[in-house]
Structure formats: C-alpha cells, structure tokens
Amino acid sequence: MAGATTLRLGAAADFGQTRFEARAATRETPLVKWLILGTALTFFAVFLLMPLIAVFVEALRKGWETYVTALVDPDALSALRLTLIAAAIALPLNLVFGVCAAWAIAKFEFRGKHFLITLIDLPFSVSPVIAGLIYVLVFGAQGWFGPWLAEHDIRIIFAVPGIVLATVFVTFPFIARELIPLMQAQGKEEEEAAVVLGANGLQTFWHVTLPNIKWGLLYGVILTNARAMGEFGAVSVVSGHIRGQTNTLPLHVEILYNEYQFAAAFAVASLLALLALVTLGIKTWIEHRAAAAYRDSQDDAS
C-alpha cells in the first residue's frame, strides 16, 4: 500500500522506455506485448471501470429527481458535513505532523530514528477496524479514560471527536511517507547555505525547504484527503451510527443500502466517487507539475 503512494518524477523514465523498445535484444514479440497489454486492460475494465460506471448507472436508475432528493436529504447533508469536518481537521494535523516527522527524519540524526519510521507506518499495517477498537478501548465508557471522561461530560467515542481521531489515525502516514524520501534525496546543503547566509530557522523553512517539497507535500495532502473522506472501517467502529449526527458519507451509503433505498445509496456513493475522481484529477495535475518542476531544476543544474 505504502509503495503505491510515492510521487513519480518520471521524466527521465520515458526516455529510457523508448530506448528499451527500440533495441532488438530487449524488445518483446508483438504477441507477448499485446497479450500483456490485453490482460492488464481487461483487468482494469472489469475491476475498476465497470464498478465505477455501475455506481453512476444505478444512481440515476430512478431518474434525476430521486438522485437529487437523495443528495439534499438532511441526513445526507449532515453526513457530508461530518465527512468534510473530519477531513478538515485530519488534514492540517497530519500536515503539521508529517512535515515535522519528515524534517526530523531527513535532516537530523538521532537515536530511535528507524523505530520512528516503523511507527509511522503502523496505521498502514493495522486493520482499520482495530484502529477503531483501540479508541473504544481507550476512550469508551468501559475503557481506560471512560469513567473520567463521563465524569467531566466529555464525549469522544460515538461523537465527532472519535470520528476525527479515527480518521487522523488511518491517514497518519501519507504525508510523512511522501516527504521522507523526497527530503532525504534533497539533502541538507541548501538549508546549510541558507543558514550560512544568515537566515533563521523559520526563514530557512519558509524560503528554502517548503518550496522544495511543496509538490510532494500537496500530493500527500491529496492522498490524505482521499482516504479521510473514504474511510469506512475505523469510523464505523467509533461512530455509533446515529442518523444525522455521527454518520459520515460512507456510513450513510451503508445505511441507505440496508434500508432498501438502493437508488439513494448509489446516489450518495456516486458523490463519493465524484470526490475521488476530482482528487485523481488534481493528483494527476500535481504529478504533471512536479515532473515539470523537476525537469526545470535538472536544467538549471546542468
């Protein structure tokens, strides 16, 4: 999972590709080429494209009116709001944490660095359901802090804070994992130069580090956002499923489906799918810009 999230700076790779195919020794026969291509495309069509189309077809099966009604239903709007709130809180938290962690790991040497890197990956390796249960065990009424929280009338589980916590947990690694290799590759020289020229810490970060990592950072933000809005398992455990109050969009889809409101369920699902498509669009644009920026910097260097 983590492997698929690294930003591609692939300008040089395209060039290698052409050379690879032009040489007889490394060229496959057309049959093999088309077989591999065909398999990949069929797989793509059956497992990715078809379900995506199905969502929209099912959503519009009973016409636009049902579709719109499902989306402006107060419960759907409340689910949308909660989803956006969870993302809006999880994103900045992870942004700050991700930059700090990546900065610490890439620019400093300290004891326990590898342990920290491993720890950052924990949310990737743990099932989301466990992530939810962890919070129930810690903050639930029977959990460690449960009695204290109840005494002070603070609600975490089965309320918005629990949903935000679960979302933060599952999206924890995206930004840090994105930045660490990038910052490690860039090294410390530019920052050292800035400091030698008299910049303070904040100035160095703002004028040297941030511009260098901004595309990677935005890419991480996009991935975090996509996961935050789509998370089901962890959020389901801590939500309590109160309609119009603690349901996020993915949970609302499940509820509608369970209530035999299939058109409505697919309508809300199509909204999520649309959000995903927009995210993908932005992601592609960022990749494009990042590759361009990378080429520029290579040109500058040479």
Partner: protein
C-alpha cells in the same frame, strides 16, 4: 514571492480546524432523544418518531427530535455499554438489555417489569423466506438440513434475530418425538453446517439472501420477511411458516443513567409508553410486528399474521440461562461452530 499562493493555502489548511470546531459546536440546541435499536425496526421507527414528536408537542408544547441508530442487537448493546448515549434502547431480546444493566448499572435489573407485556410493545416470530415457487420444497425445520439446502442466518454472537432463529430450531428439535438436549444439539449442528455465511445483523442476512441471491432459505424475523416481500417484489419470494416457532419479544426500556443526566427521563418514558398507544400499536402492525393490543390495529394488518404454534423463551429456561448455555464464550454455539 513565486510560491506564495500555495503557501497561503497551506496556512489556511492549518487554520481550518478552529473553524470546523465552531461549526460542530453550534449544531445542538433542542431536546433530542437517541433511540438505539436493532436492525429490522428501521421502517417502524422512521414512521413512529414523527408521530410521537407531534403527540409530544400537542401534550407539552415542547419540540423533540428523535435520532435513530440501528445495527445487530448485540453490537448495539455493546455500543451502549461502551458509552453510546442512548436515552432509550429498543433491542431484539431481553438479554442484550440485561447486559447493559449488568455492565453499566445505568438500567435497574428489574427493568423488564416496568412496562406491560414484559416491556415488549410488539412481538414477532421466526419464519422462513424462500425463493418463489419454493424450489427446494421447504415446509418445516426438518427440511433445512436436507442435502443441498443452503440456509442464511446471521451470527448469534452479534445478532438478536439470529439467537431467536437458533433457539427456535433448538425448540423444534426438543419438541420432536424422542427429542432431548442431545438430539437438539445434533439438529442445530446439522443446521449450522448448511449456513454458508453468517452476517453480523438481520438486515445484512436479508441482503445476502435477497440482493446477492445466496442461499435457498432465509431464517428471518416475520416482520423482516414481510418487508422483503413488500420491498423487493412478491414475485420473487414467499414466506413459509414452520410447524413450530418461537415467540420473540423485542423489549424496550429507558436507559435511566443517560436520561437522568440529559434530563430526558419524562420524554423518554412517554416515548416508550406511546408505543403501547393505539397509534403505536397500529404502526407496529402496519410494519408487520404483532401488536400486543391487536384491538388497536387495523384488522386487515392483523389478518396477515398466520397462526403458529409458539414456544417461549421461558420454555427454554429464560434468557439468562439460554445465553449462558448457548451463546456465551465456550457455550454450545461455540462448540458447534468450532467443529
């Protein structure tokens, strides 16, 4: 400042939580009740809640909004134990409320005596839902264990309906000539071997059966079976009533600990009592629950319920005993299912 738009947007991102927090805070104002219920009551309460709100408004002049949470009964009880702040619980069976009473102390242990009819304003039973024309010829419990028959039922660990299903099968086996604990266990063991998938709640099982087309027969709440036929077409499914089934009493109660804290005791109590009123009884029957006061319901609705020979949970020693023997960790269900 070539990069400033991006830096500005990053700054905005960091400031967003403060705004979001304000957003959340302003959402709550008037009286709300949270009704934590089990799976198949969704449609009933969807219609009952506004009726009660109207009734309460005319009685007291106060506005009340009722929020619903649905899921497998065991799971829902667990959530309440873990701190889900339910003012009232309307669950599938008494044991789940017992569990809340025992683990949290927020409900007195004699809660079931607080309202009439064991605190169950409506009852139901377990029936079979089969595909149209009944291609496997399923007529009674005995037909479920014939070769090639696939049975759909949820997981008794998490679903109240599944526990009723299981106990109905157990009761059927006990009532057969020569029936005893051993033959009952053998029958239920056989039955579970015919179950390809155990969903966590009744509605999940219904969807497995009707939507995904898995299985030949669904063991279902009577109301759930009627609803499936109603929602998804009488041309696809039919109900088979077995020779013996179980009287399922889904009870309701106020979660005193929560209601006291939130100041909703009165309205919560009135809410549950309203279930026993002519309006509540009529709606229960309309949504395929057997009303405890059928005289208040539409006779046409009541006429839909077939006569069934019903055993009760007391015949099996009551919920505490049944839970301990069958569904607790290491109980009969675990022993059977581990095999």
């Amino acid at each position: 400042m070539k990069f400033s738009p991006i830096r500005r947007s990053l700054l905005a991102l960091v400031l967003a939580p403060a705004l979001a927090a304000g957003f959340v805070g302003s959402a709550q104002a008037q009286t709300t009740l949270l009704n934590v219920s089990y799976d198949p009551t969704r449609e009933l309460y969807q219609e009952f809640n506004p009726q009660f709100a109207k009734h309460w408004k005319s009685q007291t002049g106060e506005d009340v909004t009722i929020k619903q949470s649905h899921g497998g009964a065991g799971k829902q009880a667990r959530a309440v134990i873990d701190g889900l702040e339910a003012d009232v619980v309307t669950l599938a069976l008494a044991y789940d409320i017992d569990a809340i009473a025992e683990k949290t102390g927020k409900i007195p242990t004699d809660w079931q005596k607080r309202l009439a009819h064991n605190s169950s304003p409506y009852t139901s039973t377990i029936v079979f839902l089969v595909r149209k024309g009944n291609p496997k010829g399923i007529k009674d419990w005995g037909d479920l264990v014939k070769p090639g028959v696939e049975v759909i039922t949820p997981n008794p660990k998490t679903s109240g309906g599944a526990r009723w299903n299981y106990l109905a099968a157990w009761g059927y086996a006990l009532k057969q000539p020569g029936g005893n604990e051993q033959t009952a266990q053998a029958f239920v063991t056989q039955l579970l071997k015919h179950v390809p998938v155990l969903d966590s709640g009744a509605r999940g099982s219904t969807n497995t059966f009707v939507q995904r087309g898995i299985g030949d027969v669904l063991l279902a709440w009577e109301n759930e079976a009627f609803l499936s036929i109603n929602e998804l077409g009488p041309d696809k499914f039919e109900i088979v009533v077995p020779s013996i089934s179980i009287l399922a009493e889904p009870p309701v109660t106020v979660v005193d600990g929560v209601a006291k804290k939130r100041g909703t005791e009165k309205v919560a109590q009135a809410y549950l009592e309203y279930l026993y009123s002519p309006v509540g009884q009529k709606l229960a029957a309309k949504h395929y629950y057997r009303p405890v006061k059928p005289e208040h319901a539409d006779p046409a609705d009541v006429a839909r319920f077939p006569k069934v020979d019903l055993i009760t949970i007391e015949d099996l020693g009551g919920w505490q005993a049944a839970q301990k023997e069958h569904f607790a960790d290491g109980g009969v269900f675990d022993q059977i299912y581990a095999r």
